[in-house]
Symmetry: C2
Subunit: 199 residues, 2 copies
Amino acid sequence: MKYPEPISKLIDSYMMLPGIGRKTATRMAFFTLSMDKSRVQEFADNLVSAKTDLRYCKICGNITTDEFCSICKDEGRDQSTILVVEQPKDIMAIDDMNSYNGLYHVLGGVLSPVDGVGPEELNIKLLLNRLRTNDAVKELIIATNATPEGEATAQYLAKLVKPAGIKVTRLAHGLSVGSDIEYADEMTLKSAVQGRREI
Amino acid sequence: MKYPEPISKLIDSYMMLPGIGRKTATRMAFFTLSMDKSRVQEFADNLVSAKTDLRYCKICGNITTDEFCSICKDEGRDQSTILVVEQPKDIMAIDDMNSYNGLYHVLGGVLSPVDGVGPEELNIKLLLNRLRTNDAVKELIIATNATPEGEATAQYLAKLVKPAGIKVTRLAHGLSVGSDIEYADEMTLKSAVQGRREI
């Protein structure tokens, strides 16, 4: 027996989502049938709206509904530092800790020759233009992920930007707060020793 | 910082799905942004279509796009047995094994006084009408889940139907095929001993 087309199509749609296999998608599809009609309509509207109403900030590459994102428009923020992240969601994580009040720049990924991602595919040109036309920026904090690709991208950016006399820093690597040395991996431990600080 | 409204609304929608928390919903929402516009539109259409185009079969309670489901309309199936399940997806699981060729009946749940589900909330009246108006049915196989509620519902149905002279059976309980006795739980082991068969 095959499911009626409307439900098997919905299962296929759910299966496109990351980490969702056929069993979970089927569960979600049947759950959808049990939802209020108005809720399902709202869900459908939200899907379309997220795709059509959102665009990328012309300054930093963050997602926004306007031409410029709320952070770039906020003049109360420290205009002298730009923190570079891979994805818009990284901004959320950093801004939620309430200890950074500068600007951001979203690369939209990391350099990865294997996946065909070169400097042209990232928002690097936008960043360089931004630094060139804005004298206020004194420091670039590179917060790409602590992966080999993130590291390579950080090195690449540092090489590009340093000659312009802008200070380039990288987030510290070391032990997670609350973690045991015993369970730390070798690379993390090495970074922690290299980055040791006087107390 | 808060996400722009279109994305935070989409995150909320994803969070309504079973087993999806904020982190996964956020990941799904950003994944949606990276999807083709046509795919997202299709996803939205499938959501609405599943909710509006599907209804319940007037005979057995299975989901269908027509008045009657494909199984009830299939005259090649054995009209003398009805297998009773909790949900439409259970039909799929049983029909996929290709060893049952009779009819089905979907209860739409199980008796559960705690959740306020009594006989009136289930498709029991529909089942009794079906048995009353159809002399061909000789056996009712009750395939509710092997939970206390499933068991209680099976007992309740058996009491209702037996006086009409219809044979009522229940799926066998015992060890899963391929499982170790060592790891079986006590109730399963007890069922397996009680239901032992001569070889």
